[in-house]
């Protein structure tokens, strides 16, 4: 860092933990450890007693009676005989006794042995802790005796120190360099807001373009031009978007994400625009191919209407491929969302769904059902091995 100021503090370990004190602590821990060790030995004795008792209890009923020496007083024994070798009075604890057979008594003793073992286990854990503590105390004592020092330094955040060092006016002129790193959340929010406002602007433009396109199409039956215009318009819009600096992948994703909810929240109108604008033909085809509507016989009179559709899609496709990859991503996302919406509409009510793509075919609402049928035929053909062939066929038929 090249800083000359001293940041840390140095204290000798022996001043904080005097060697004698540490040794005293270590001694105390040793003592408790010894105590626990005694307890452990006691427990082990209990366990040994218990196992030998179990053996005895299991062996006693083997014989009908045993000749034993009965203790009498402190120092005297007299010969006796043990009878009823299968009857035991087992002390359960708290001066309660139970009459049990040898087998039952052995079971009780075994249970007791188990509880003893669990006690041994817990004691072992405690002893291990104590041992660790003792070793820690020992090492501390030895370190303190050796004269070890402890160095403490306040932890400082890299960025905060940088900020502090940037206090001179020259570097304050360019706060944008440090801002994105330090105030990431805020800038993101800001960006989000900007994108949203831009989106609204776009929607308005689309609306205007939409009305314009509708007018145009009302006059013309083959609206390749108007559609193309719209396409160009949106493309220009997207280009502008790109020029504004939203070209990074992250932002595009953000854009497409934010776009979806917007569309859904604004109801069906923007959806219609979206559909009629660029993709509705292709969307419809795809969607119809998916839903698999029944194909009805094609009447020649309606052919001319459906003929416009393939042209549009043809127009549309190159523009999509021609646009920059990031741009494309946005478009696809939009397309996807609109398609989803479209399918929902179609499944909800056939009429609404068919109305949704009225952008360029408004004038044909009376023959919607048939239109649908046409498109489904094309779609079924499109979904075949050679998707673009039907286009030329339609064109031929039209001519």
């Amino acid at each position: 860092m090249g800083k000359t100021e001293v940041k840390g503090t140095v204290t000798s370990l022996s001043s904080m933990f005097p060697a004698e004190e540490a040794q005293k602590g270590a001694k105390r821990v040793e003592e408790t450890l010894l105590e626990k060790q005694n307890e452990m030995n006691q427990l082990r004795d209990f366990i040994a007693d218990n196992t030998s008792l179990i053996n005895l209890v299991q062996k006693l009923p083997d014989e009908l009676h045993h000749d034993i020496m009965v203790p009498f007083g402190k120092a005297a024994f007299l010969p006796g005989r043990l009878i009823h070798t299968n009857e035991f009075l087992v002390l359960l604890g708290e001066s309660y006794y139970a009459e049990r057979t040898a087998k039952q008594a052995a079971e009780i003793l075994k249970r007791r042995g188990k509880s003893l073992e669990s006690k041994v286990d817990s004691l072992k854990a405690v002893m291990q802790d104590l041992k660790a503590e003792a070793s820690f105390f020992d090492s501390t004592a030895s370190e303190a005796a050796e004269g070890l020092v402890e160095i403490r330094e306040e932890y400082e955040d890299e960025s905060s120190t940088q900020r502090v060092s940037q206090s001179d006016p020259l570097e304050q002129d360019s706060p944008s360099f440090t801002e994105p790193d330090n105030t990431m959340g805020a800038s993101e929010d800001e960006e989000y807001a900007r994108i949203m406002s831009r989106l609204e602007e776009l929607e308005k433009e689309e609306l205007a373009a939409e009305s314009y396109g509708d007018d145009d199409e009302d006059q013309d039956n083959s609206p390749a031009e108007s559609d193309g215009d719209e396409e160009e318009q949106t493309k220009a819009v997207f280009d502008r978007e790109k020029n504004k600096g939203y070209s990074s992948l992250d932002h595009d994703q953000r854009y497409s994400e934010s776009r979806k909810p917007l569309q859904q929240s604004e109801g069906k109108d923007p959806m219609k625009e979206e559909m009629s604008k660029n993709y509705h033909h292709q969307d419809l085809i795809n969607q119809l191919a998916c839903t698999g509507l029944t194909v009805e016989p094609v009447t020649k009179g309606k052919m001319s209407h459906s003929g416009t559709m393939p042209q549009d899609t043809k127009m549309l496709n190159p523009s999509i491929t021609a646009s920059a990859p990031s741009e494309k991503k946005v478009k696809f996302a939009v397309e996807h969302s609109s398609r989803n919406e479209k399918s929902v509409q179609a499944s909800n009510s056939g009429f609404d769904g068919s109305k949704a793509f009225t952008g360029s075919i408004v004038e044909h609402t009376e023959s919607m059902e048939k239109n649908l049928a046409h498109q489904s035929t094309t779609s079924s053909q499109l979904s075949g091995s050679q998707p673009w062939k039907p286009v030329s066929r339609f064109k031929m038929q039209r001519k």
């Binding site: 359960l92 604890g93 708290e94 309660y96 006794y97 009459e99 049990r100 249970r111 007791r112």
Partner: protein
């Protein structure tokens, strides 16, 4: 001069009293610990008995040792007795816990007071040394 020395003497007496109180408190705490240990052991024993009693058959003979004689007891009665005893012991343990906390708080405050008195004595002595 004489007034300050009497003050110091008074403070020292105060300190002695407080130290006595503190040692008394510490003794109480140690006693509390011992009693608690006893009760926890009894609780464990009772729980063991209860477990065994639960495992016994209905018609098993249960005796209680009262003084030098074994008195036959009903199994259900013995069970109820043991349960009651466990309840009592748990309540007692809780009580002991509360009193232990109280005692420790008292000990802490006593210690603080003693420290204060010691500081005052030291300041007095320092003043004397200067004067």
């Amino acid at each position: 001069m004489s007034s300050s020395s009497t003050a110091v003497r008074e403070l020292q007496r105060d300190l002695e009293n407080k130290a006595n109180d503190l040692s008394k408190l510490q003794k109480d705490i140690a006693k509390n610990h011992q009693v608690r240990k006893k009760y926890t052991i009894q609780l464990g024993e009772n729980e063991l008995v209860l477990k065994e009693l639960d495992l016994l058959n209905e018609d098993a003979n249960v005796y209680k040792l009262i003084g030098p004689v074994l008195v036959k007891q009903d199994l259900a009665e013995a069970n109820a007795n043991v349960r009651k005893r466990i309840e009592y012991i748990s309540a007692e343990l809780k009580r002991l816990d509360a009193s232990l906390q109280d005692l420790e708080e008292k000990q802490y405050s006593k210690r603080e007071a003693i420290l204060k008195v010691q500081q005052r004595i030291q300041s007095h002595q320092a003043g004397k040394a200067k004067a």
